[in-house]
């Protein structure tokens, strides 16, 4: 298998669709909201009523340009809408208004990190188009084959989509996942979509083919659809690479076709064979004039771009002395803002980063919410670090306090006091417990005196239990040693 895997390299290109979060649809003023009765957000235009005409949503054009700029694309000085003609009941006009050979953005790139390495993926184009309606097939399986009848809901018809096409520069499933994650992070940073793969506001199709290592000619590709998460994308690509490898190794050809990824079964299957490419009879839409964005406007949009994830990661790592991985985790989880605030409020960045990546992310995952939505401020995190630094809390206790802060019990100091978690650092308070521990375990005490330092653990444990974990461990250690070694008699009750 290893031998065979070395003979072929995977050539992968991704097509990603992003549903924009504009107020209204791409070509009409119907509101975009979610839920609602079927066909309640429609009008003559998005229903394709006779005589209706499209009018371009300027905000959608703005979002397209901003995404193009964020991906390093050239913004076309003139771009054109084309009609893509084919018949299907979920397409009200039986053509989709899209862009063909003159799209709004061309020639960009995205650098992603996968398997510890940076990899450049070219971006062929970004273009605008309108979404279709949704079909509901009513029958036994819910799929179209064997359905008794179908219903169509046009609420989604006409919603603005951006299509981002990558060059076939991706070589592994991990790179594909990194590309999709990074693209999603950029879309979120721009605020142009909520980009939820599981809900369909971001969709990804993969074109996968193999070729012998060293060859430049592309092999036959299969298009894979229905990956609803980054994880799913990775699994589907690995499956497809393995499937094609097996075929080619056995001397069979790969069929050019569209395949459906089944997440439960963990495999792809034929959806439709594309022996010839469908002829969409593209022609410029005569109802729409060319899109000619004002160069001044483009520069304004460029100047107004937010800090993109890559720059953010680099800045975070540099300015706070964090590792690239930590910076990536923080930015990816949307926690970099809190970190900056905490560091500004005096928390050591590395420590604050650890709290965030270890505790806060876990807390959020348990409750199925976005880490960035965790109810924690940088100031609170800084206060927590301060309490550890001044000995009020041990690390262990601090973790409990943090949990309390996240659960809404108040600021760290308040939580510590309310829960009675403050470390006991008063020597006299601990002294009794220290004496009891030594008395209760003379064997361990003797071992320590004899030079077995590790044995002190049992005694420390006993003191911690007796103080309900609140004794300052450092102080416990210190007092035990004093007692064990200062006492010249070497055991028993001491004088």
């Amino acid at each position: 298998m290893l031998e065979q895997a070395q003979r072929y390299e995977a050539v992968i290109g991704l097509e990603v669709h992003v549903e924009l979060n504009t107020n209204t649809k791409m070509f009409c003023s119907c509101a975009i909201d979610f839920g609602g009765e079927p066909n309640s957000r429609t009008c003559p235009v998005c229903l394709g009523q006779p005589g209706s005409l499209p009018v371009v949503n300027a905000k959608a054009v703005e979002s397209a340009i901003r995404l193009g700029l964020a991906l390093g694309c050239d913004i076309a000085p003139v771009s054109q809408f084309h009609r893509k003609n084919y018949f299907y009941p979920d397409m009200p006009k039986n053509y989709q208004i899209s862009q063909y050979d003159i799209p709004i953005c061309l020639h960009g790139e995205l650098t992603v990190t996968a398997d510890g390495q940076d990899h450049r993926v070219g971006i062929t184009r970004v273009h605008m188009e309108e979404d279709t309606g949704k079909s509901l097939h009513v029958g036994t399986s819910g799929r179209i084959h064997g359905a008794d009848y179908s219903l169509v809901d046009y609420n989604r018809a006409g919603i603005p989509l951006l299509e981002i096409v990558s060059e076939p520069d991706i070589r592994t499933a991990a790179q594909a996942q990194a590309y999709l994650s990074e693209l999603r992070a950029i879309v979120l940073a721009l605020g142009i979509s909520d980009a939820k793969l599981e809900e369909g506001s971001m969709r990804c199709d993969a074109n996968v083919s193999l070729r012998p290592v060293g060859h430049t000619v592309f092999g036959t590709r299969a298009e894979v659809k229905n990956m609803n998460s980054v994880r799913s994308l990775g699994r589907a690509i690995e499956y497809e690479i393995a499937r094609q490898t097996d075929l080619l190794t056995a001397g069979h050809p790969v069929v050019q076709e569209t395949r459906h990824w089944d997440e439960d079964a963990g495999r792809t299957s034929t959806l439709r064979t594309k022996e010839t490419t469908e002829d969409y009879r593209y022609f410029p839409d005569p109802d729409l004039v060319p899109v000619v964005p004002d160069p001044g406007w483009i520069e304004q949009l460029r100047a107004g771009l937010p800090e993109l994830p890559a720059a953010r990661r680099a800045r975070l790592a540099d300015s706070r002395g964090l590792s690239a991985e930590q910076a990536a985790t923080l930015v990816g989880a949307g926690l970099d803002g809190i970190l900056d605030d905490a560091a500004d409020a005096g928390a050591p960045p590395a420590e604050a980063a650890n709290w965030l990546t270890n505790e806060v992310v876990a807390w959020a995952n348990e409750r199925d919410i976005e880490p960035a939505a965790a109810p924690l401020t940088g100031a609170q995190l800084a206060e927590l670090s301060g309490l550890v630094a001044d000995g009020t809390l041990s690390k262990k206790l601090a973790r409990q306090v943090l949990g309390g802060v996240l659960d809404g019990e108040g600021d760290p100091r308040q939580v510590a006091q309310a829960r009675g978690l403050e470390q006991i650092s008063d020597t006299s308070a601990i002294a009794a417990a220290v004496d009891d521990a030594i008395a209760a375990d003379p064997g361990a005490a003797q071992k320590v005196r004899d030079g077995n330092d590790k044995a002190i653990g049992a005694l420390v444990g006993a003191v911690m239990r007796a103080t309900k974990g609140q004794a300052n461990p450092g102080l416990v250690n210190e007092l035990l040693r004093k007692r064990l070694f200062a006492d010249g008699t070497g055991g028993g009750d001491g004088g």
């Binding site: 003559p44 229903l47 394709g48 009523q49 006779p50 005589g51 209706s52 005409l53 499209p54 009018v55 371009v56 009609r83 003609n85 018949f87 299907y88 009941p89 009200p92 006009k93 039986n94 053509y95 179908s150 169509v152 002829d279 009879r281 593209y282 022609f283 005569p286 109802d287 729409l288 004039v289």
Partner: protein, 495 residues
């Protein structure tokens, strides 16, 4: 009393209505009576809006009595070609595939007529989806030429011209893609104009060829035509191809005469094979009369106009093949039940579309298909640019162009139905201005030796409606044409 109401021009009616001489209700009733008296002979209407018209007229009278400000056409009856959507009122576009369809919205033209307080009397017959030059392609009925009931009124605005020529209404809206207002106006002794492309909104005007279709007025006088055009023209944000330039008030310049204007005579047109002698003679006489009125007559050339028909019959079918895709039985109109969605769509279109529509859909689909697009559609558009440049060059030498409107006068039913190409050649003089986007108007130039009306076409530069109507008005005043249909086979209905 009612005879002079129906023979009055819109301008005369407005005077009398404003003077309180007559009520809008009387005017409406007179025209509804005239429709009833003549429809069996003329068959202009697909749907008479009897109740709506009387209600609208009563409303105008009430508001006038209350001293309210009224619109430009208050109380004037207008017939609408059945290509304009009228909310809740049947709109068929002359096709079985929309039999029974009641649109959920008004076209902008309909809305502007309502805003002008016009009294809409009904929807007129037309060639199916505006494809035809005789009216014979209507799926429902044959409209007849009031000048000779055995002859076609021309097309595609067959019913609109039949209605106005028969005095059923003083004004009608038509649409002109390659001559569908001008040619039928010529055949019926009327004034029919196509404005500059983009002057009148196409929102709600069921699309045939999007880059060519324009709404225009049909009337018995130039002043009336200008009035109707003024009431509906002007930018519409619902139509992206609607031009921002405000429509000029034509009334001040209408009577300015032609002294000092340069009138161009298109050499290629007058030398055209197939141009009937009677048409040529009336046209050359008209040109002479313009010269006597003070115009400078110059000969100009439109060298590529000879390719106009070929270019048009590639561009228009291409656009229509896409525009008509939406008629599939899914959302509105005719549905012929069958097994799968695809089978249902195919059966619906097979039964719902007539032969000429199918012909043009097939031609257009072919011209846009892969491998043929560049040789046909793209090539035709390049030829279009050459024609556009010919016009621009010609208008450097003259202020307006004059030519025959159509090569023949009205022909008999069935004369050209066996030969689609012969039918297409009706448009040889009207198509070039359509391709160039230039405004053009047909005015009556007299009768041929059979007593049939001859139309003379005046074309002007883009946005040049003022000069175009000025020349038209001068010619009209000079010729004093009587629009009453007369002759052995003319409409028999006492006025």
């Amino acid at each position: 009393m009612s005879a002079d109401l129906v023979t009055a021009t819109a301008a005369q009616l407005l005077e009398r209505l404003n003077a309180g001489d007559v009520s809008a209700a009387e005017v409406a009733q007179a025209h509804l009576d005239r429709i009833e008296a003549t429809e069996t002979q003329v068959d202009a209407f697909l749907h008479v809006m009897h109740d709506e018209a009387l209600a609208a007229a009563a409303d105008v009278d009430r508001r006038r009595a209350a001293g309210e400000q009224l619109g430009l056409l208050a109380g004037v009856p207008v017939a609408l070609k059945d290509i304009f959507t009228t909310r809740g009122v049947p709109t068929t576009c002359g096709s079985k595939i929309l039999d029974g369809y009641r649109p959920p919205y008004d076209s902008t033209v309909t809305a502007r007529l309502h805003a002008a307080d016009a009294v809409i009397v009904g929807k007129t017959n037309m060639d199916e989806f505006a494809m035809g030059s005789s009216g014979e392609n209507s799926a429902f009925k044959l409209s007849r030429n009031p000048w000779d009931l055995g002859r076609v009124p021309g097309g595609s605005s067959a019913g609109s011209v039949a209605a106005v020529a028969a005095f059923q209404a003083p004004l009608a809206t038509g649409t002109d893609t390659g001559g569908s207002i001008r040619q039928p106006a010529a055949f019926t002794g009327l004034v029919g104009a196509k404005p500059t492309y983009g002057r009148v909104s196409r929102y709600g005007m069921i699309a045939f060829a999007s880059s060519l279709d324009q709404c225009g007025p049909i009337a018995r006088t130039v002043t009336d035509a200008a009035l109707l055009l003024q009431a509906v023209a002007g930018h519409d944000p619902m139509d992206s191809t609607s031009i921002p330039e405000p429509f000029p008030d034509l009334r001040p310049s209408l009577g300015a005469g032609v002294d000092g204007l340069r009138i161009g005579v298109v050499r290629e047109f007058l030398e055209s094979e197939g141009l009937e002698p009677g048409v040529r003679d009336r046209t050359t006489e008209a040109i002479e009369r313009l010269g006597k009125l003070g115009a400078d007559i110059v000969e100009v050339s439109l060298p590529h106009a000879v390719y106009g028909v070929s270019a048009y019959y590639l561009i228009a079918p291409s656009e229509c093949s896409s525009n008509l895709s939406r008629f599939d039985g899914v959302r509105y109109g005719l549905r012929v039940g069958a097994g799968t969605a695809e089978e249902m769509m195919a059966a619906t279109r097979e039964q719902g579309f007539g032969a000429e529509v199918k012909r043009r859909i097939m031609i257009g689909t072919y011209a846009l298909s892969a491998g043929y697009y560049d040789a046909y559609y793209a090539q035709a558009q390049r030829v279009r640019t050459l024609i556009l440049r010919d016009f621009a060059a010609a208008f450097e030498q003259c202020d307006a162009l004059v030519s025959p409107t159509a090569p023949t006068t009205a022909f008999a039913f069935g004369d050209k139905t066996d030969d689609p190409l012969a039918m297409y050649l009706n448009d040889v003089f009207t198509i070039p201005a359509s391709l160039a986007g230039s405004p053009a108007v047909s005015v009556p130039g007299g009768l041929d030796d059979q007593g049939l009306p001859v139309g003379v076409q005046i074309m002007a530069p883009v946005l040049g409606e003022d000069v175009m109507f000025r020349v038209a008005a001068a010619l009209e005043a000079e010729l004093g044409f009587d629009p009453t249909p007369r002759g052995p086979n003319a409409l028999k209905a006492a006025l």
